[in-house]
């Protein structure tokens, strides 16, 4: 187990390196540049060239990347070009805000997905099962930014039950209740897709597990329904469910981007969106690295759980 974990953690480094290289290249391939963004369309070519020189952007790409890499491995993520703020100080609070939204959405998706999926699997081919399949298909293919707008229109503007956007009220005390009220709509918006995917995965793996021969053997032993489901169905159906849940967590950590923009949620996604628009390279790099790191770590956690669940893997 220790060796397995060490091995997996070591594998994080090349992934991080690859991600940073790709992001670096992509940002330079994309049209537009920092100088134009910072100085505006009226700026003279001389001014722009001077700014590029001052920022070191006129150096060859490998050199730029090398410098960035050297700074980053020492823990210095640099300064935001657009805001002149320390990148780490900029990114970390945003990451915590995203974490709040992510945990809320994931809990929602898990509660819905696990219960509806299990119920549908146990009543295969029933009306409930069929409705579940249709609804999850629709929910899974609904674009979150569109859903967000519709929810805002309905619950915030028409019914005025919930705030339109933001994380706290300007005039409010910024307490937990305030955050919670602001959290409802973005959490529901981001949870819907993952809830649909988790529901379908729970449904199919429970159904598959129900068909295994040892379930019939357990029934022949006279096991009560609860013990039968717990020990012989759910336990065996868990690995794919854990895996898909982990993937959704990874997706939510980085992928709530558009939802954060729609709801003006001050998270990592909104920050990434702003800094890409502003060609703010240091912030883009730090943000994507953080997202990638969370994704990889979540995946490692998933693998560890699955190894713990399966005695055959545990001994390998």
């Amino acid at each position: 187990m220790g060796r397995f974990l060490g091995h997996r953690l070591l594998g994080v480094l090349p992934v991080m390196f690859g991600v940073s290289v790709i992001i670096f290249i992509l940002m330079h391939l994309a049209p537009g540049d920092v100088a134009t963004v910072l100085l505006g369309p009226q700026a003279t070519e001389v001014a722009k060239t001077e700014l590029r020189h001052a920022l070191g952007l006129d150096q060859p790409l490998p050199l730029q990347y090398g410098k960035w890499l050297l700074r980053t491995v020492t823990g210095d993520f640099g300064t935001s070009i657009a805001t002149q703020l320390n990148v780490a100080a900029l990114v970390l609070p945003r990451f915590l805000n995203t974490l709040v939204l992510t945990v809320a959405s994931l809990l929602l998706a898990i509660v819905i997905g696990y219960s509806v999926g299990l119920f549908a699997a146990l009543r295969a081919r029933s009306v409930f099962d069929r409705v579940t399949i249709t609804v999850t298909l629709l929910a899974g293919s609904t674009p979150p930014f569109w859903l967000g707008l519709i929810l805002v229109l309905l619950f915030a503007i028409r019914l005025r039950w919930l705030p339109v956007s933001g994380m706290v009220d300007m005039a409010g005390d910024g307490g937990a209740l305030d955050v919670l009220r602001h959290l409802v709509l973005p959490a529901v918006t981001t949870a819907l897709g993952p809830a649909a995917i988790i529901t379908r995965m729970v449904r199919s793996s429970i159904r598959e597990a129900l068909d295994r021969p040892h379930v019939r053997v357990a029934r022949a032993k006279g096991l009560k329904r609860g013990a039968l489901l717990r020990r012989h169905v759910i336990l065996n159906a868990l690995p794919p469910i854990i895996t898909i849940t982990g993937l959704q967590l990874g997706y939510l950590l980085g992928g709530a981007l558009l939802t954060e923009v729609v709801f003006a949620w001050p998270g990592l996604g909104a920050l990434l969106y702003d800094s890409i628009t502003a060609r703010d390279m240091p912030v883009v790099q730090a943000t994507t690295l953080l997202i990638a790191l969370s994704f990889v770590l979540v995946n490692i956690a998933v693998d560890v759980i699955n190894v713990l669940l399966d005695p055959r893997l545990r001994e390998a």
């Binding site: 295994r212 021969p213 040892h214 019939r216 053997v217 357990a218 029934r219 022949a220 032993k221 006279g222 096991l223 009560k224 329904r225 013990a227 020990r231 012989h232 336990l235 065996n236 669940l309 399966d310 005695p311 055959r312």
Partner: protein, 335 residues
């Protein structure tokens, strides 16, 4: 005393006219079509037949383990005068494992790979008796020893993938007999095992049955197994019982042409090695569209017009010997 009659006192399980269908009322398949059988205490009854003849479905119907789209549509399954077909789910849970233990065909997939061997034996005990988990586990270890697993205390902590097929079947037998059921149903318990292991598993089942004075319903397609294990034999074909007799009668004076043909398919040690084995021509019928009359008629060398006109009923021709064949009483020559 109004208890069981003298003749019924040793009856453990009485199955009458069992019918099980898969699929819709019209166009479905009647996999078990009017099977009756009686299990007696301390005796072994063999249910013999080819693949698809309805042997396993009969066992699952008795256990109440037929799942949709399958359904037991007729008949009674009497256990101590109680018809299991009318029993609730909860009553059946209390009966399965405690009163009737079942051993299945494929020991490789019959154990849960995620649970230890010991806990899979202990769970039978925990399902039926108010004992602590520790006590159930201790009994599981004793049971493992009893079915011939060496170093039982340590092996109980192991997972199924550490066990060979034969050892897994021993574990499954231990789990099936953990609550000392009066009836053991073994559905082709050795089919998936090596020949050398088969005999050991059968010997174990036999010893346990004798020791517990239990009834054993042994489902098999292997006539050699029948000869060495069974007291009574039922021969099934396409969902119906064609012949029922004690083991000696069945092997030495079989009446049904199908039974005789089956016996012609096996080679004995004293047989003339130069005489060819006699295969049965043709294939078992498609149960979605069964032939009229006797279901064996299309393959039967003795079939006459009457055989396809009506279904021959299972008739008693001697004490403990019944046959479902119009020509059973005629002296039919060898085919």
């Amino acid at each position: 005393m109004t208890g069981p009659s003298m003749s019924g006192g040793d009856i453990a399980l009485d199955v009458r006219n069992l019918r099980t269908r898969f699929g819709p009322q019209h166009g479905g398949v009647i996999a078990v079509d009017g099977v009756s059988l009686t299990l007696r205490r301390g005796r072994t009854t063999a249910l013999v037949g080819e693949s698809g003849s309805g042997k396993s479905v009969t066992a699952l119907s008795i256990m109440g383990l037929i799942e949709p789209p399958g359904r037991v549509i007729d008949g009674t399954v009497l256990l101590d005068g109680r018809d299991l077909r009318t029993a609730s789910d909860r009553e059946m849970e209390a009966i399965r494992g405690a009163r009737i233990g079942m051993v299945f065909q494929d020991p490789l997939t019959s154990l849960n790979p995620a649970l230890t061997i010991g806990s899979q034996i202990a769970e039978t005990i925990l399902a039926h008796e108010p004992v602590s988990a520790a006590a159930a586990h201790a009994r599981a270890v004793t049971l493992l020893e009893h079915v011939g697993v060496a170093d039982a205390a340590a092996r109980a902590q192991d997972y199924p993938h550490h066990f060979s097929g034969g050892m897994r079947q021993r574990v499954l037998i231990a789990a099936a007999i953990a609550c000392r059921p009066g009836i053991i149903i073994a559905d082709e318990p050795t089919t998936a095992l090596d020949v050398t292991v088969q005999a050991k598993i059968l010997r174990l089942l036999h010893d346990l049955q004798q020791e517990m004075h239990a009834s054993l319903l042994l489902i098999t397609h292997d006539l050699g197994v029948v000869a060495s294990m069974a007291d009574d034999v039922l021969v099934m074909y396409a969902g119906r019982v064609l012949e029922h007799a004690d083991v000696d009668t069945l092997f030495h004076a079989p009446k049904h042409p199908y039974t005789r043909a089956l016996l012609g398919c096996i080679a004995g040690i004293e047989d003339d090695r130069t005489a060819p084995l006699q295969p049965i021509e043709g294939l078992p019928p498609d149960l979605r569209n069964p032939p009229p009359g006797c279901r064996f008629a299309p393959r039967c060398v003795h079939a006459v017009a009457a055989c396809t006109a009506a279904v021959p009923a299972l008739q008693t021709i001697a004490d403990g010997h019944s046959v479902a064949c119009f020509r059973a009483m005629e002296a039919l020559g060898d085919d």
